[in-house]
């Protein structure tokens, strides 16, 4: 980020697709090799630009799902029906293809180990992507800040990074929890239903512990979670939000 800021401009560059992972039926992670990447901070995003043969261009923002310490830059993209960019990224992009992007972008919704915690991450749907970068950065930097991730998804099949998140070793510092809002498998031990004040009272640290909170998801999810936390007495300045949505 410092290097980008010093350069004073944001340049478009091409990356090469090094791998793809189908995360859910509609979501895919794309690992990119970028020869001229200045590095990023957990929570930042990139702008991706597609150019048609006739010169028409479409551009969208995607959060980075990898930690700064990871080898490849990983974008995780949810396919939006009738979208202009995401169907190409999720269905047509192959290993070895080029992808044009600029970044890293954003300085607000960013967590670095030096910021400490306790760190409360609230994810709604594909809003988990930048929060997963923070979790991986936490692990890679061996941060001792307590971290709690609450991930709200419609069903178990909709959980992005499912195997990775469900195998994070539960220890004193890291605590990953799920709530499934529409359907729960038999024997489900996680939460059911939407993230609301009652659930946050149970999951969040009390305001007296001054947790640093990052909320990412659709507008309705972010508004509900942020206002519930402020109602519970958390300082608005400690609650950072990022809204995702079809654009």
């Amino acid at each position: 980020m410092e290097r980008t800021a010093l350069r004073g401009r944001l340049t478009w560059q091409f990356g090469t697709v090094a791998g793809v992972v189908e995360e859910t039926a509609r979501t895919r992670s794309i690992a990119l090799e970028l020869p001229d990447w200045p590095g990023h901070r957990a929570g930042q995003h990139v702008d991706v630009r597609l150019t048609a043969e006739d010169g028409y261009q479409a551009q969208r923002s995607y959060s980075i799902g990898s930690a700064p310490e990871d080898h490849d830059l990983v974008l995780t993209v949810e396919e939006i029906a009738d979208g202009e960019v995401s169907p190409y990224l999720v269905e047509e992009l192959h290993v070895g293809d080029s992808l044009e992007l600029r970044g890293p972008i954003g300085g607000y919704f960013v967590w670095e180990a030096s910021l400490g915690g306790p760190l409360l991450l609230l994810a709604g749907g594909s809003g988990v992507v930048p929060l997963r970068a923070m979790l991986r950065h936490h692990l890679a930097s061996e941060s001792d800040a307590p971290l709690r991730l609450l991930y709200s998804a419609r069903s178990l099949e909709d959980v992005i990074y499912r195997d990775e998140l469900m195998s994070v070793p539960a220890d004193a510092e890291i605590d990953v929890r799920f709530t499934l809002t529409r359907s729960q498998p038999a024997g489900w031990h996680g939460y059911a239903g939407r993230v609301d004040r009652k659930l946050l009272e149970e999951v969040a640290w009390p305001p007296s512990e001054h947790p640093l909170v990052y909320i990412c998801g659709p507008n309705g999810f972010v508004e509900a979670a942020a206002s519930a936390l402020v109602d519970l007495g958390h300082a608005p300045a400690r609650v950072k939000t990022e809204r995702f949505g079809p654009t």
Partner: protein, 84 residues
């Protein structure tokens, strides 16, 4: 249409201002609310991008790109964006 927030226009603002602007503080000329640009409500689907005050919904800034040139109208800001 669902609102996004100022994080969504970080790239466009960087391209115009030459640096990260979502942590800059905006002051609403209508209601006086102050806060980081990242917390403004952003609508991308108009014939241009509109960022509105998260408290009173007044238009703070408009970005329109035409043939590769971005025009910025900071009509709703009481003072210039303050960097951090």
């Amino acid at each position: 249409m669902e609102a996004l927030d100022g994080n969504a226009i970080a790239g466009a603002l960087f391209a115009v201002f030459g640096r990260e602007m979502t942590t800059a503080v905006s002051v609403c000329a209508n209601c006086g609310a102050t806060g980081p640009v990242a917390e403004t409500r952003v609508y991308l689907r108009g014939p241009g991008v509109v960022a509105r005050c998260s408290r009173c919904s007044a238009v703070l800034l408009v970005l329109v790109e035409i043939r590769g040139v971005t025009c910025v109208d900071l009509r709703g800001l009481a003072e210039p964006l303050k960097g951090v």
